[in-house]
């Protein structure tokens, strides 16, 4: 995700919020939230080198898997739970998103859009599994387990009575509005669970 995209995601978070960044990588977004939005919170990451980068940047991070980390948090104990570019690699998406909606008053989900025209083109005309900037791996080496489009995600939300509070669509650096499921490479959603708040 571009720096521009990070900023747009950070702008979805109310200043001063508590945040939990699941799959925080080297902590770019988390650092931005703490520095520029006055947030507090920590990340969760599985990769040792990424954890070292976070520690060296003065960020707090828990080493381990996302599911276990969510289980260690009480209901509605975090203002915003963030799953940026990590949902497609989860084994149990339903369970983790449910847990994220339990722990977070709001949840941000960002993912590569499998409905983008270049994906469709490669599948339809090439007959091959698509390789794109957001999905850069071959079928045999990809860590991604789930391939889904903006429409898929919105249908999932509707089915679970999950409210979509805001949607950002990106075509690389640019935000795009027209025909997002065809033209957006990435989608970012701010969502909220169905329960009474």
């Amino acid at each position: 995700m571009s720096h521009h995209g990070m900023r747009a995601i950070a702008a979805l978070v109310e200043p001063g919020s508590s945040v939990l960044d699941l799959g925080c990588g080297r902590g770019e977004l988390l650092g931005l939230l703490l520095r520029e939005r006055g947030c507090r919170g920590h990340g969760v990451e599985i990769d040792e080198a990424a954890i070292l980068a976070c520690v060296s940047a003065g960020l707090s991070v828990f080493h381990g898997d996302i599911e276990q980390s969510l289980a260690e948090h009480a209901d509605a104990s975090v203002d915003v739970v963030i799953l940026n570019q990590s949902v497609q690699q989860l084994r149990q998406v339903d369970k983790v998103l449910g847990e994220a909606l339990r722990v977070g008053k709001r949840v941000i989900v960002g993912f590569p859009n499998f409905g983008h025209w270049s994906v469709r083109w490669q599948v339809f005309f090439g007959g091959r599994t698509p390789v794109t900037p957001g999905l850069p791996w071959g079928w045999h080496e990809t860590p991604n387990l789930h391939f889904f489009s903006l429409k898929d995600f919105e249908a999932w939300c509707a089915q679970g009575r999950v409210q979509i509070l805001k949607r950002l669509c990106f075509d690389g650096e640019r935000q795009c509005c027209l025909l997002p499921n065809l033209l957006a490479r990435d989608g970012v959603y701010l969502i909220q669970g169905p329960g009474p708040r």
């Binding site: 508590s18 520095r35 947030c39 920590h42 040792e48 003065g58 960020l59 707090s60 080493h63």
Partner: protein, 366 residues
Amino acid sequence: MAEPRSFSFNGLTLENGAFLGPVTLAYETWGTLNAAGDNAVLVLHALTGDSHATSDGVPGEERGWWEDLIGPGRAIDTRRWYVVCSNALGGCKGSTGPATLNPATGRPWGLGLPLIGIDDMVEAQSRLLDHLGVGRLACAIGGSMGGMQALAWLRRYPAHLERAVVLATAARHSPQQIAFQEVGRQAVMADPDWAGGDYYQGPHPASGLALARMIGHITYMSDRSMARRFGRQRKGHGSDFKFTTDFEVEGYLRYRGDSFVKRFDANSYLYLTKAVDDFDGLEPPLAPTASGGPRVLVGGFASDWLYPPYQSRAIAVACRRAGLATTYTEVESSWGHDAFLLEIDRLAPLLRGFLENAGEGPGEAP
């Protein structure tokens, strides 16, 4: 090796209510305390360690137990930090312990010494730091029993601490951990030379203490590290005795046991293992911190079955819930519990990164 210095004070009231005095701590320091008194790093040794954490790169000096982490240009850089390490209260490397003379009787304390807790060790250290002119500690760092002390520092003096590093330890011992310690203590006390702890005039309980150490060493290694180090190698010397030390691993344990006896006091072993068993770092719990509390790094090691990583993680979760900015990492290693002494290549960048950054954002929402 340079002799440790010592600091004595009139005494302290222990957590259990008993008064212990006078108290002496043996300690060493490296680097220079700055004018503000805020660049001190307190290094806390494990069960049978001592104040000699490093030679600080001085030629001809004996290597310390964290030699490769502490020194000029190393992760805990003595050109930047004023590093202090003292022998724990209850130990036998110059600090007050059961082998120390009780001034009231003119004889060693022996079992007359009151039981000492991890918090008492920390209290004594804080007196030493006052004496040295240290204001707020830049960091308290330790592994195993040293990690418990770092946790006790967090609970006891959160305002006097900027950072804490807690490695390879537990907030409280599990029954399994207590069981191993108790077998070690029983080995010491079953030795007739132990003589109720009053053995200082005669032979020391060498076979009992050596056996305790052999048991301890098994728990410090891992299945993999033992297999790699010893395999099923035989020592190859013939002997008529059926139960001689055939295997390399047997010879190694005998050697570690025998060499331990030469450097360690059996009663100290009893006192220190008891202190570790009795410790409960989360009861009373850490007080909630609004913001600006110490930053915490907690580390477990993958193959450590004596202090399994889940125990380290539980400490990290408790720190986070108390509002502290907390990082937890599980360091990949096959060394078992010894990893916190041996896994230098992985620890060094982590410690340097943690110590040298300014820290981003406040702690957690408690």
